[in-house]
Symmetry: C2
Subunit: 212 residues, 2 copies
């Protein structure tokens, strides 16, 4: 299979979300320029991205959403939701858990939560299974968990990630301000950098004013 | 002043964070390839980005960090921290507030929090001022708040953003799964899309396995 570059994977993941929503609303076809509108990209970029799935789109004709969906499932593996865990169930972790469970997800399913504080585990009411942190490695392996969202204290982030790697996760979403380095090759790490996002917004607001 | 394209602003904002940390550690110079390493970009891209600040870098020579810092402050407005508020102080909002106040910030300062539940405001212990949600517009105007982090329930997100816009914010960071459309021109909105991030990780893990 032809290797799909990272920015294309990123955009196609978003396309998957969009067409799922359109399909729910009974829409059957979509053009590259309409998709481009949703993503803030040109129709040309979208056609090039979809070409990686094996459809050579031509300007002006629409894609069948059912075809697109099937191809995205084939190429990006969205057929079977990846199992996901949340490590750290303080306020942040619990809020994220609740947010993720409240909406139907199309690419992953949160199946387990971990916290080092056992009393904490007993006070949380949720539909998923909760475990003490020392059981991360075994549980990740047993439940075949592939994704981990890390919401522990910054000073515990690397250790939490290491345990997840030991258990076999393939992707880590880092919600702490600490930098996480994957312990194994082939583990992808992405970070939600709240300060970084606000810094970018600060710069955008300033530069647009300076240019007015 | 020459208009700086959005991806350049995004990268330069990150450069600002990096050089601040290097400066704290007593480092005085950095090359474009070292900066590129931090950002996952080529040295060439970094040199082109920094060229927007008026320095024509040449391969192999290092930038003075103090110069870079001053130019980033001039061009991206990082000299005076932008005032920021958090709207919605449920578990998520309170956790984000705590996280942002725990680390010294270089581009913004959280100065106010809002929640529609007045009892909630009384139970939160924090160093910043808290207000009921109906006072968003007046308070944002009075305190000259330019950035807002929205962490309310999805169904309240647009209204919360509208009130912030009415008060005069210039940038909104949306932490809800709802889509927020800015009420006024010139207001930038960025979203932290937790499901989207996990979807991308799922696709990365799958495609790298499929290519092995």
């Amino acid at each position: 299979m032809k290797k799909i570059p990272f920015p294309v994977i990123q955009r196609l993941s978003y396309v998957f979300e969009i067409i799922n929503k359109l399909e729910e609303n009974g829409i059957g076809k979509i053009s590259s320029s309409e998709l481009g509108g949703y993503l803030g990209q040109t129709a040309h970029t979208i056609r090039k991205d979809i070409h990686f799935l094996g459809i050579a789109g031509t300007p002006g004709t629409k894609y069948e959403i059912a075809d697109l969906r099937r191809l995205l499932i084939d190429h990006l593996g969205f057929g079977e939701p990846k199992r996901c865990c949340i490590v750290g169930l303080g306020r942040l972790g619990e809020a994220l858990l609740e947010q993720l469970l409240a909406i139907p997800q199309d690419a992953f399913a949160v199946v387990a939560g971990f916290d080092s504080n056992i009393n904490r585990l007993e006070t949380i009411r949720t539909s998923i299974e909760l475990f003490p942190a020392y059981r991360i490695e075994k549980t990740v392996r047993k439940l075949q968990i592939e994704l981990a969202l890390i919401a522990v204290l910054p000073q515990q982030a690397q250790e939490a990630a290491d345990r997840c790697c030991d258990g076999g996760v393939r992707g880590i979403l880092n919600f702490t301000p600490a930098v996480i380095k994957p312990k194994r090759k082939g583990v992808f790490v992405r970070a939600v950098d709240v300060s970084g996002e606000l810094r970018i917004l600060a710069a955008l607001a300033y530069t647009s004013t300076a240019n007015e």
